[in-house]
């Protein structure tokens, strides 16, 4: 229980509920009403699983928003055409930031007759929930969960549209080397700061093995627990080591704390290069602590900035007063991908949806992945890209094809 009652954002509940009710009412007025006039086609139910209470509530909230926006858009455009304009109905489940709660919600969704599930966010939730769904051959689309274990189990119902851990770190290292080379190799020494859980330790281990091969010297590896309430000692250690590069891998709160402490103590390395950084590509961080956030580079999930649909989505999210992070485009794209599979399957039959996903070459998403191609459930084209916080914006800096701005590295 202790892990799920942290920041349930009670104050936000009523506001969120009101907003949601408003959005639902608006959707009904514009979309729902005409459909009543037409012949009634039964709605297709899809499950959206996100942790909207507990430690991961902020991420879960954004994930739900992305999925909801995609569903509203599909319904507004006339629903699923292959199914006679059937509307998509969202069955939402709160995974409460724990795997058991995720499993329980999958059971409920199964009882409510969903034809597929999208979401999970954290790897442990994705692992447990996709396994529970596998019992019913229920297609499960992992939205974020990066653990390589998720796809290594041979579950035929589980698909991951986004890149896994191995792929992300590989690309992150390649891109770091290239960015450094393009700038004339200013960075030679590195300090790693990581949280001691699944994601931070795994990453640190990999970086410790790979960075020296690419000509970087690791001065020290500093581990800290999640949640951590104070980063002064970590910052002081960084100051005394004076590295060219700090590579943090931690979650939102700790990342923000580290960046702020470094700013307070005027520690300015040539670059802060996050890999799957908790806050480094989160609009909230930029908005709340613009100075601490300046020039932080991240290698993470990010939408294709040149895609007009993505730009419109970002505007729509920001117009709602919400911060934009990768959870939104990922869940948005996953729902579109699923809708495409249902269209091509021509029915809400689970086996047919799984077949359609396996043969999917979907291009209508907003991520920089190209057409989808699933091999053993993993989308082969999925890749992270590099962003940097510049001014009040998060800009893509690498690879050049997607870049909106030049990398400010070494940071000035």
């Amino acid at each position: 229980m202790g892990r799920s009652v942290q920041d349930s954002a009670l104050s936000g509940v009523s506001r969120r509920t009101v907003l949601k009710a408003g959005a639902a009412a608006a959707a009904f007025a514009t979309v729902g009403a005409p459909s009543i006039l037409r012949a009634q086609t039964p709605a297709v139910k899809i499950g959206i699983l996100q942790p909207v209470t507990g430690a991961l509530a902020h991420d879960g909230d954004l994930g739900r928003l992305g999925a909801e926006m995609a569903i509203n858009e599909i319904n507004a455009a006339g629903g699923l055409k292959a199914l006679g304009g059937a509307k998509i109905e969202m069955v939402f489940g709160d995974a409460r930031s724990t795997p058991e709660a995720g499993t329980q919600e999958v059971e409920r969704m199964q009882a409510e007759g969903v034809c597929a599930i999208v979401g999970g966010f954290a790897s442990p939730i994705c692992l447990a929930a996709s396994q529970a769904a596998a019992r019913y051959d229920l297609p499960y689309l992992v939205d974020v969960g990066v653990s390589d274990q998720i796809m290594a189990r041979g579950l035929t119902n589980t698909f991951r549209f986004s890149p896994g851990f191995g792929k992300v770190t590989q690309v992150a290292l390649d891109n770091l080397t290239k960015i450094n080379e393009l700038a004339g190799k200013p960075a030679k020494t590195v300090v790693l700061v990581h949280e001691d859980g699944l994601f931070g330790s795994g990453l640190a281990k990999l970086l410790q093995a790979e960075l020296p091969k690419r000509g970087f010297e690791i001065l020290e590896t500093i581990a800290h627990p999640t949640p951590a309430r104070d980063m002064s000692n970590v910052a002081l250690r960084i100051r005394s080591l004076n590295p060219d590069l700090v590579i943090p891998s931690n979650y939102y709160g700790e990342f923000v704390l580290l960046a702020r402490t470094m700013q307070q103590q005027r520690i300015k390395p040539k670059g802060v290069y996050a890999v799957l950084g908790g806050a480094a590509s989160n609009g909230r961080f930029v908005k709340e602590f613009p100075q601490a956030a300046q020039n932080v580079i991240d290698c993470n999930h990010w939408h294709d900035p040149k895609n007009p649909q993505a730009q419109a989505l970002r505007k729509a999210v920001e117009a709602q007063g919400k911060s934009f992070a990768y959870n939104v485009p990922l869940n948005y794209s996953n729902v579109l991908l699923l809708a495409d599979a249902i269209e091509r399957a021509g029915s809400a039959d689970r086996k047919k949806i799984i077949e359609a996903l396996n043969g999917s070459t979907f291009e209508g998403h907003i991520m920089p992945y190209g057409p989808t191609k699933f091999v053993n459930g993993q989308n082969e084209g999925a890749t992270p890209i590099n962003t940097q916080i510049q001014g009040e914006d998060i800009k893509v800096i690498f690879p050049e094809y997607f870049a909106e701005a030049k990398a400010n590295f070494p940071a000035t």
Binding site: G2, V52, T53, G54, Q149, D196
Partner: protein, 332 residues
């Protein structure tokens, strides 16, 4: 033990066993399995905390040991899951005995004992998180291979019956403890350890037996958790959440009673689940109910729900006897 001791347990077990024949909904079955796993662990806590009066804040140490031992034996050594279950219980008992030996021998009582158990659980969590043998932070994933020999069943009802059988077994065990010489010594230690010693009770031995039993039962629940969800990491297995769950259930249900942990776990999780059904749109509503029930139980039902029921029954009887007297007076 007399027939009167056993009848309530038998009735409850039979009624609960018939449930899957009526309820076929898998969310309900899934909920019941998880709640019974918590209840089983809470029964383990109750042996030491309820009967022995040694409040542990770190039963996660035993829960996690059960979960990790069964997972590691299967994954790394190919040991059969059923054999793994027995070995996990043995490991839980051994870990519990060791922690007990170290802390009871130094005379730690009350809040000091609680703090030491908490510390042990945290040390286990950090070790499990850091060492490669336990899968490190990535945790351990038991392969999904549905076969009775692997302790994985296609039908949830079978797993439910299995957990129910263990819960019933521990109900019988607790009833036996309550009626046995060992139980009397344990209660004596709880009520006044010095007085018990003066009467010739070897308090260290009694407490060690209790903590070993408690550890074995809680390890069993951890093993069943791992076997049911098939994934554990340091935070799930050794996290403080499970320590809190395991001590809340008996406190709500009735500390030191046979049925207390089961009643407590069912009430807490049942109310939470109902709240979610009726107010599912408000995230976290079940946790609010959780907190509310705890506050009410602590404020108004000192002996837990069972204690409250007993008091109500006594009051009811008192009123009935008073009523009967009045009737007989009137008759005169």
């Amino acid at each position: 033990m007399t027939a009167r001791d056993l009848i309530p347990i038998a009735v409850l077990a039979v009624l609960a066993a018939l449930l899957p024949l009526v309820v076929t909904s898998s969310p309900v079955m899934n909920f019941l399995v998880f709640t019974l796993i918590v209840a089983l662990g809470a029964q383990g806590w109750n042996i030491l905390g309820g009967f022995g009066g040694q409040f542990s804040f770190g039963h996660a140490a035993f829960f996690g040991t059960g979960a990790y031992v069964t997972a590691i034996l299967q994954l790394r050594y190919g040991v059969n899951a059923w054999a793994g279950l027995l070995l996990a219980m043995a490991a839980g008992a051994a870990v519990a005995w060791t922690i007990g030996f170290l802390s009871f021998r130094s005379g730690l009582r009350g809040s000091y004992f609680a703090l030491v158990t908490l510390a042990f659980a945290e040390v286990f969590r950090i070790l499990a998180n850091a060492t490669a043998f336990t899968g490190g932070a990535a945790g351990l994933l038991i392969k999904l291979d549905v076969h009775p020999a692997n302790l994985q069943f296609a039908d949830r009802a079978v797993f439910y019956w299995l957990v129910l059988a263990f819960v019933t077994g521990v109900l019988l065990l607790t009833r036996w403890i309550q009626r046995s010489r060992f139980g009397a010594q344990l209660v004596a230690v709880r009520e006044n350890e010095d007085a018990a010693k003066a009467l010739g009770v070897d308090s260290l031995k009694v407490k060690l037996r209790a903590i070993a039993l408690s550890g074995a039962v809680t390890a069993l629940s951890g093993c069943l958790y791992a076997q049911y969800f098939l994934y554990i990491d340091a935070h799930i297995a050794y996290g403080s959440w499970i320590s809190v769950e395991l001590l809340l259930a008996p406190i709500i249900g009735g500390v030191g009673t046979v049925f207390g942990p089961v009643v407590g776990a069912l009430t807490l999780h049942g109310l939470g689940e109902l709240a979610k059904q009726f107010a599912g749109r408000i995230p976290g509503i079940d946790l609010i109910v959780f907190g509310g029930v705890l506050v009410l139980a602590v404020a108004f039902a000192r002996g837990g729900i069972l204690g409250l029921l007993e008091r109500l029954r006594d009051r009811g009887r008192g009123m009935m006897t008073r009523g009967a007297k009045e009737v007989s007076h009137a008759g005169r």
